[in-house]
Symmetry: C2
Subunit: 340 residues, 2 copies
C-alpha cells in the first residue's frame, strides 16, 4: 500500500488538521519506461505553502484531493527505464507519499554515491536549498568581493548558507536578521556572520543603518514584509535585493502589509529581482561543485532538522512559519534509504 | 538685480503660497573662470518636489532660504571661461532665478545651434525628459522588439516619448495609462499608443490583464502607488519594471500606501529597478542623436506647456501633480532667449 498526504481543503493562515488528510492508496505499478521509487526523505520548503493557495504562481496550485507536491529522495526498487537502476538513490518530486513513479514527465536525478556525505546533508546543502543560496547570491545578487551583505532568515537553511558563501568569497561584512536572541547567537557563533539583528526588537531600520552605515550592497530576502522594507530604506547605491521568498506573507497573502520604501530603488538606482531556483536547473552542477568543496573543507556549517514519520509532514511545514525549526527541515519517511 | 524664488518652508502636500518666496538679490558678478548667464527657460520636473522634502534623496534637500533647484537654459552674457562664449545658449542647473553663474562646480552644456529646433523642443525632447524616456526604456527596461510595453503617465512629457520610442522600435503592443478620457484619447490619437487605460476608472488590474493577456514585458512607471501595484500583478515572465518616478507619492511620502504585489517579482522572475537620468550623462549624445532623428523625421510627436513668468514657477510645478499640464511643462523667464 501507499500512504499519502492529500490536500483536503485550502488553508487560510496556518496549515491545520483540516488542511490535509492521510489516505492509503494501492502501491503504483511500474509500467514501461517507468521506475518505482520508495521514498526515504522529504524536503520541507516554504514554497509548498504557496502551492496550497488557489493563486497564480510559478507552478499551478495543488488540486483538492491531490497528493501534496514536494521534492524528496528515495531508492529505486524496480526499473523499466534505462535512466534508473535498482538501488539508485534519486532526487526529484516525490510528493508527500511512500511510493512514487519516475517517468518522462517526472524525472529524477540519480545522486552520486561515495561522496562521504549522508543523505540529509546532500538534500540540504547540495539540494535546492544550498543551490538557491548560491545562485541567489552570486547570479541574481551579483555579489562582488567587499560587498556588504544582509540576509534575512539567517538561521534558516538557505540564509545560513548565503552568509557563509558571502564570507568565503570575501564579503566586506555579513549581517544576519533572525527572530530571537537564541537564533541570533546561532547565526554569529555557529554560522560565522559578523553580526545578527533580532527583528523582534524595535527600530530594525535604524539598527540596520548602524550595522551597515554605508548601506547594503546585497540584501538576500527570505521573508518579505516589514523586514524587506527596513532593508530597502538602507540599500546602497546600485544595491541588489534578491527576492527569494516572502515567507512572512505566505500565510496572509490577502492582507499583506504593503512595502512603503520602494522609491528608495530610484534614489539609490537599486534593483529588486525575484527568482526561482528551478530556472537554474542546467547549472546546478556549478553550485554543487563549490558547495561540496566547502562541505569537505569544513567551511560550510549546516544543520538538518529531522522530523520522523510521513504523517508529521504538515507539522514540519508549520515549523518553517513558527520559526520552530533549526536548519533545513526534512521528513524521514523511511530511514533505511541512505546514500552509500 | 536678480529675481529669485527661494524655499521659505518645507511643504506638506502640495506647494502653496507659504512654500516659496520671490526675493530680489544683486545680480551676481562674473569672476575668474566664470560665465554670467541670463536665464531664458526653466524645466519643471516632478523631482523638484522631492528636493523640497527634508528626506534622503539622490541630491541633498534644498535648504530653507536657498533658491529652488532646477535645470534650465539661458544665454551667456559675459564669460571669463574658455568653456563659454557670449551668445552661447547653454543648458544646466539654472535654478529658479533670472541670472546664474557657470563655474567649475556648476557646469553648463552649450546647445548646438542650426538644428532647426526651437528651445522648448530641445529642452523637452533632447533634454532630460526625452533622455529619461530613452535610457529608461532601452537600458534599464532592456526593451526588445516584440515586447508588450505599458507606460503610466502616458500623456506626460516622459511617458509620451517612451511609448513612441517603443512603437518606433517594433513593440508588440504599447498600452498607456493616464487620468481621464481626454488624456486617454490624446495618448492614442496624438502619440499613437495602441490603447490607453483610464486609471480613474475601477478595476485597473483586470483591465490591464485584458489589454495585455500575455503579461507586461516592460512597465515604465512614472507614478508609483496603486498603478504600479496593478502592473506588478500583470508582469510577464522575466518582465522589467522601470522605476522612473513615483509622482503619486511625492506629495504624501509619509502616508504612502504600500505595494502589496511585489511577490509577483518572484513568481515571474521579474525585476524592478530604479534609475536617475543624470547617471547616463556620459551617454546623453547617444539618446539625443536618435531622438533628434525622430523629431526631424516627424515620427516623434511632442508638446510643450509654456507658463510665462518666473513668478509662476510654483504654480507650474503644481500642474504636474494636479494633471493640469499637457506635455512638458516649461517656464519662460525671458522669451528673447532662443536658439539660432
Amino acid at each position: 500500500m501507499n500512504r499519502q498526504i492529500i490536500l483536503a481543503q485550502r488553508p487560510i493562515g496556518a496549515v491545520d488538521s483540516t488542511t490535509t488528510s492521510l489516505v492509503t492508496s494501492p502501491r503504483p505499478n511500474c509500467g514501461p519506461d517507468q521506475a518505482l521509487i520508495k521514498v526515504g526523505m522529504l524536503s520541507i520548503d516554504p514554497t509548498i505553502r504557496t502551492w496550497m493557495n488557489d493563486a497564480p504562481g510559478y507552478l499551478p496550485p495543488i488540486g483538492i484531493g491531490d497528493v501534496i507536491r514536494s521534492s524528496g529522495a528515495g531508492v529505486v526498487v524496480e526499473s523499466n527505464s534505462s535512466r534508473y537502476t535498482p538501488g539508485d538513490i534519486v532526487y526529484g518530486m516525490t510528493n508527500w507519499q511512500e511510493w512514487v513513479l519516475a517517468d518522462e514527465q517526472n524525472r529524477f536525478t540519480v545522486l552520486p554515491s561515495g561522496m562521504g556525505l549522508d543523505l540529509a546533508t546532500v538534500m540540504n546543502v547540495l539540494g535546492v536549498t544550498g543551490i538557491t543560496a548560491y545562485f541567489g547570491l552570486t547570479d541574481v545578487g551579483r555579489f562582488q568581493e567587499g560587498d556588504v551583505v544582509v540576509v534575512s532568515g539567517a538561521a534558516g537553511a538557505t540564509g545560513s548558507v548565503v552568509g557563509q558563501i558571502a564570507k568565503a568569497r570575501g564579503a566586506g561584512r555579513v549581517v544576519g536578521i533572525a527572530g530571537g536572541p537564541e537564533k541570533c547567537a546561532e547565526v554569529v557563533e555557529k554560522y560565522g556572520f559578523d553580526e545578527c539583528l533580532d527583528y523582534r526588537e524595535p527600530h530594525l531600520a535604524r539598527r540596520l543603518h548602524e550595522a551597515c552605515p554605508k548601506g547594503i550592497d546585497v540584501y538576500f530576502d527570505n521573508v518579505g514584509g516589514e523586514i524587506l522594507d527596513a532593508a530597502l530604506s538602507n540599500i546602497a547605491m546600485r544595491g541588489r535585493i534578491v527576492m527569494c521568498g516572502a515567507i512572512s506573507q505566505y500565510n496572509t497573502m490577502q492582507n499583506a502589509k504593503g512595502l512603503v520604501n520602494t522609491s528608495m530603488l530610484i534614489m539609490r538606482r537599486a534593483r529588486m529581482e525575484g527568482f526561482i531556483v528551478l530556472d537554474y536547473a542546467s547549472r546546478f552542477g556549478e553550485a554543487q561543485t563549490e558547495l561540496a568543496q566547502m562541505v569537505h573543507a569544513g567551511s560550510l556549517v549546516h544543520s538538518e532538522h529531522l522530523v520522523v514519520g510521513l504523517e508529521h509532514a504538515p507539522d514540519a511545514l508549520n515549523l518553517l512559519f513558527s520559526g520552530g525549526n533549526h536548519g533545513k527541515t526534512l521528513v524521514v519517511v523511511d530511514q533505511e534509504v541512505q546514500l552509500g
